[in-house]
Symmetry: none
Subunit: 234 residues, 4 copies
């Protein structure tokens, strides 16, 4: 079945489209912003860190209309943030680098509708033959358990699981030393979003209300815990 999904387009056609796309970028897009790109080439100074799913339908720069240089992005299956611990890999590295080397002030964890990873959490037999995927999704096991013990079946369960997964990954995020330290001093803000591919809606987690609300509904939903220390003034 997986193999049949890609039969309409041959491997050569796929590569051809990618290379032609690059030619359009180089010939049509780049020349109009050449000075911007040349300046950008010297240093990055991103506005925020964006952690989202590898899903091809979720394009962070598109849905926030960001320019190159705006978002420091890490993407993986299920927008997972493993907790800080013995096994530290790519996500933990990206967090440490974004916070300590780049000094970002926002970290956004963004889930999305129709997520294959969330479906696999609900139906583990789908990934029975993918041992690495199965092991990775243990990081969403806490969300599955919350839903199983508190909630609903069917289609609605997928939405709730997707939300609970974002909440769980925000909790994981807070276990990282560099994050915890700056949350405690009010220097860093964290956000939990859900992007709906079919409607363009984005919901954000409001920790005070314990629920998700439209990201641009005033006052803006906040997931950042209260700072316990005042940062030193320069």
């Amino acid at each position: 079945m997986p193999d049949s999904r890609n039969t309409a387009e041959s491997a050569n056609e796929a590569l051809d489209k990618i290379i032609q796309g690059f030619r359009r970028f180089r010939n049509d897009v780049f020349p109009q912003q050449q000075a911007f790109f040349e300046e950008l080439a010297q240093e990055q100074n991103p506005r925020a860190m964006f952690i989202t799913c590898s899903d091809s339908r979720v394009v962070p720069e598109l849905i926030t209309q960001s320019e190159p240089g705006d978002l420091f992005v890490t993407r993986n299956v299920g927008n997972i943030v493993p907790p800080y611990g013995q096994m530290l890999g790519g996500v933990s590295t990206a967090i440490e680098y974004a916070v300590m080397a780049l000094g970002v002030k926002h970290i956004i964890v963004c889930g999305h509708s129709d997520c294959g990873a969330m479906k696999a959490v609900m139906n583990p037999e789908k990934v029975e033959h993918m041992p690495t995927v199965k092991a990775w999704l243990r990081h969403a096991e806490v969300a599955r358990t919350v839903v199983e013990h508190n909630c609903c079946g069917g289609h609605d369960a997928l939405s709730v699981l997707t939300e609970e997964n974002v909440v769980a990954q925000l909790d994981h995020l807070r276990t990282h030393p560099s994050v915890a330290s700056r949350l405690a001093s009010g220097q860093l803000f964290i956000h939990g979003w859900i992007y709906n591919v079919g409607t363009s809606q984005i919901l954000a987690y409001d920790a005070a209300q314990g629920k998700f609300r439209p990201v641009d509904e005033e006052p803006w939903p906040m997931a950042t815990p209260r700072a316990r220390y005042t940062p030193e003034q320069p």
Copy 2:
């Protein structure tokens, strides 16, 4: 020093720009392609997997002019692909999912100019206080060694290291069972790219010649090893 980089823009201003960007997406961009997004909401069927750096200046969909749904993306510090082994994390998971669940036919590993991770590999003292970053960059140690023993100093060394890192990550990619299996049967193709932010140029690794050439120079540079089996015909 890192903290001073973000002083020009306050945390509130940064978040405001991101939310305003989303409003432009929802109000201006989405309505023009609503039918496309609604269809996309049902399933993804990406053309290729794209493994690149978290660097904010590298936007895969921009530089290949791809649409949502085209590229399955995983991004981390240094566009690293850890080898298959006992410690399997997010990149290994994304590879297994892209190949086995989605059936992608191309995997592109894309490095870029002015990469902070590559600079850190050359100057480890820069990340001395970031233990997770330091451990992660061991996956690029092979590239550092190749350059140290074979090459040049100064600015040029950074370019060569960036290339060698892509070659090394392609070697790592080949240690993943799902990848090796489809390489052996000619069903999967792997590519090593370097994107230059300031010039828009993309170079690709040509394994037969042992060097990088413009990605769209005919015949297109190929990094895929020779297949040892003929796939069954449908």
Copy 3:
């Protein structure tokens, strides 16, 4: 069952044969080459590194008619070369030492017929009660997957798996910094062999053709990738 294999010979008889063998070496073999051994005692300068299985039927010095001092040997279950990464053990150490301290110019990875490790990879239930063996053989999982997806059943599958395992371990070998560096400059050569115990045949991997051929068939089969740098001339 395993215990019954060794019932014909008692533990005392086994030790006795080993000690008597040593006496023959000391009394009959050594005196004829005493000057050679005395010179050898000062330093080793091996011609090649030989990585092969612990199997008692594979004697590297016998099948290449090598003298003491010729081959730097590391042997383990399944002639495995773990990829370079966070867990570095005996094989990685031997490689680093052979290449950096001894300056060997050839590394031969040699599998063999009727390999118990390869049989265990095909039938994991055989080692279900041997957790260390089972974990170790994950380094051959890539070979198992290649065979499962591309090939044949029965006796032939064991031969193909044995070949694919050697190819996989050559790929792993290339992830080691000391190896990659010297491959890039053409100072090191790697070889993938299969020794057939019952026929004395040795096949070697020819990367350009993507298949195994007799090791002494002209032109000799080569597994070494193309060098990207020219070594400095002395």
Copy 4:
């Protein structure tokens, strides 16, 4: 310096000698014992497990005049046996397989004179640029400490360290569950040897006397601890 060691013989000449050696084996040696090899091809039933150094001058089958099929061999830098624990690699695997799958009754740990690994333990600066070797030799740190606190300087220290290292690795061996279990029931015997390349002498550890004696001096030196349980009779 390391690179200069191998300059007398070119890479081509080295490979040529190995291939010619194989031809002599196939054409001259194999035909005289063809029936023996054909029977051996079906199954291995080794007399003992032999753990020794990768050093090219130590050929286990030569110094015990063993035939193919007699010795199950694992070789690494310094004839190290890592203790049983979280990081289980090739040596631990070979032990588990030899004891549980093959049912060997003897395990011999064999050090040797002029060992580069032991010299590196005494002079760590020699391997300062070989991080993997350095980490691996931590398994011999206990031997270094014993010598430092109890013994002598100079050339003699190397001999004592080589002996202490074998004693330490025997202690490590006893931490492996499969070994400990069979030692407790008297079904397995362990031996600590030192082979002198220049004199052909082999010394063996006599645990009761706490010292090394000639391996074939009656009564044979024994390193196996007293069994605490009587094995069940069949």
